[in-house]
Amino acid sequence: MNPFVTVWDFFGRLYHRLASPREFYKISRFTTPVFGLLFLLLTAAGTYLGLFVAPADYQQGDSFRIIYVHVPSAWLSLFIYMVMATAGAIGLIWRMKMAYVVVICSAPIGAAFTALALITGSLWGAPIWGTWWEWDARLTSELILLFLYLGAMALYYAFDDRKTGERATAVLAVVGVVIVPIIHYSVEWWSSLHQGATVFRAGGPAMPSSMLTPLLLMALGFTFFYGYCLFLRAQNMVLHNERNSRWVKDLINELE
């Protein structure tokens, strides 16, 4: 059998299972604790390696260690927006219910990571650059991203009808995606105070592996944390949205 067809078929089935709120709920009951556990393990390992094993930087000394929170949250802030915009497009094109759930549930998590990236960046900038805040291309565009997240949340809650709100938010999420390449390339396009890319750059990461390993562990851990939060929030939302359906009522009866 053609392996491509098999893989394609697998994703097709997964898509259809995830598209049904009930199936999604079943799957997420299993994935949520797994994601939570992976988050704890990876972050614990990353924190230990980052704080106690990784050597101090030749210029910044120990203050560079904030990188292990700052960089993963900044990556996640972009990643979550991409997930939101993709899910929004899927929802609008194929009218997939669960895609809207992903859009709505991702927004506050994304906003939190963006805020974390901005705050840790500010704490880092104060000793190293000599300023808390600078109207630099990277910093400004990241701030715009925070406002976009907040705008998406505000738009969703402004509608009385949930479904209309979901569609409107999906449109806004798709429109706002233009900001993502701007943020990513801002350090290359404009000569900014913010440093260029350390990890994803031509010629490999500009960092020894003793410093890089904890960073990657933290990034992976944070991603699982996002998955964990997303599944938790989505579970709640699915139960709330479907509270009048048979399967949710059966579920509640089972508990009682």
Partner: protein, 222 residues
Amino acid sequence: MTNTFMLYAMREWQLLFRNSSTLAQPLCFFVIIALLFPLSLPAENALLQRIGGGVIWVSAVLATLLSLESMFKPDYHDGALEQWLIQPRSLTLAVVAKVFSQWSATGLILTLFAPVLCLTFRIPVEQIWVLFVGLLLGTPSLTLIGAIGAALTVTLHRGGVLLAIIILPLYIPILIFGAGMVTQSAQGADITGQIYALAAILTLALTLAPFAIVGALRATID
């Protein structure tokens, strides 16, 4: 195609001229906001000259934002918009015509009037030209992007603040390039980069915003 565009555009212009207050309001607002700055800041010509470009840009952004709320609302409330939705004619073209006439009644007029304001800020003539070109390139993008927000909030009773929250972040790049152009030319630097950047934003907005506006209208009107 041009037929549909002209049909809707003519209708919009007729409506604008019957309702001349909608034409005058953004301009008055623009002038008043801009004049608040010389009144509230120390009366130093050097200071006014330095901030003038930025102040005029901020005023233009706010005046555009103010005019956006009434862009789709009247048509939504009297049912004209739902008639547009069920026409066999292209809704995208109708929206483009609407944005174009909206811009000609706000952005274009503000741009034409901006040089007069520049005189109160003692801005030298060369920079007035820079500001004029910047506004001419930037204000259509403001209306195009803002119309997405106007379409998203058309069914909401109190959509004004929300409109500002979702649209202003998207305005920031335009504001940075537009106002930066004036500052840079005052320092004698080259401004071709900013002109290209504003033109790029305008091209992108002109290509994609109409579809986003149509999508937003179809998503929210129920």
